[in-house]
């Protein structure tokens, strides 16, 4: 199946203006791939949390998006990466209410609940990469690889 034009992209995350572009791109891409309104809103919200983490905690980075297909189901993969300090204790960071700043500490764990697949690759001193995938159709729920 062909990927809809305008889905695959790489966007910088350097300012809160970029967060607006990230949300806009994810909403548009999810719409093109046939996501329903609720799934679209969940993915945009997850993207907003992860992009803000990239900006605030990671010191800036980028989001890459890629359209996916699994049989008849279309999906969207978002990869947020930075060369920041990394996450020393991932278990703790994923838990609700943990923040190293003045946030609510809901972003990372909340984003995980809002998407179908979620993976964090973080090395202290090297950087952080968070990859999420959501599918336009929740059932049957594909368990594809990234």
């Amino acid at each position: 199946m062909e990927t809809a034009a305008g889905v695959d992209a790489c966007l910088p995350i350097r300012s809160d203006m970029d967060l607006v572009w990230v949300r806009q791109h994810v909403r548009q891409a999810a719409g093109l791939l046939g996501f329903g309104l609720v799934e679209q809103t969940k993915l945009v919200t997850a993207a907003s949390e992860l992009a803000r983490n990239t900006l605030v905690h990671g010191g800036g980075g980028r989001m890459e998006t890629a359209g996916l297909t699994n049989g008849h189901t279309r999906g969207l993969r978002l990869t947020f990466s930075d060369e920041g300090p990394g996450i020393p204790d991932l278990e703790r960071a994923l838990g609700d209410g943990y923040t190293s700043g003045d946030g609510l500490g809901m972003g990372l764990g909340g984003a995980r609940r809002l998407v179908h697949e979620f993976a964090v690759d973080s090395t202290p001193g090297v950087g952080t990469k968070v990859t999420v995938v959501s599918w336009a159709d929740r059932s049957p729920r594909p368990r594809g690889e990234f």
């Binding site: 809160d16 809103t41 907003s48 803000r52 946030g103 909340g110 609940r113 809002l114």
Partner: protein, 139 residues
């Protein structure tokens, strides 16, 4: 009702005074800095006008993440200190569903389906309830 169209305006965020209530309409995708500015401006406007109620209409908002959720909660907390009660009106169903899964409960934020219901809620609610601010409310 007193529709004061010349009231304070924050960026492109319309703020309207309806008698004893301030109606703030959020729309579209807010920058973090706009949201923070708004938080400060609303606080100052509530303090300056001495209104007893604040309605934040978010029916035009497509997404509420933890940042915007926290801004809303802080606006309500600040208003509460100034003896004004806050109602968030018109949250879209998709936004509400997402907030629940995100895990954001927003304690202390009252919600209403529409601004009309929010206004009724503020007009009719028990004066003894909720925020016991330092100032007497007059209605």
């Amino acid at each position: 009702m007193n529709h004061d169209l010349s009231g304070p305006v924050t960026g492109h965020v319309p703020v309207l005074r309806l008698g004893d209530v301030l109606l703030v309409t959020l729309q579209g995708d807010l920058h973090d800095s706009t949201a923070q500015q708004l938080q400060q401006d609303i606080g100052e406007t509530v303090a300056g006008t001495g209104v007893s109620g604040l309605v934040i209409d978010i029916s035009g908002v497509e997404m509420v993440d933890s940042f915007l959720g926290r801004v809303l909660a802080e606006i309500a907390a600040r208003a509460s200190l100034l003896a004004a009660r806050t109602v968030v009106a018109g949250m879209r169903p998709a936004v509400a569903i997402t907030l629940v899964e995100l895990g954001l409960t927003l304690p202390g934020l009252r919600t209403a389906l529409s601004t009309e219901v929010a206004m009724d809620l503020l007009a009719g609610s028990d004066p003894a309830s909720r925020s016991g601010g330092p100032r007497q409310e007059s209605r």
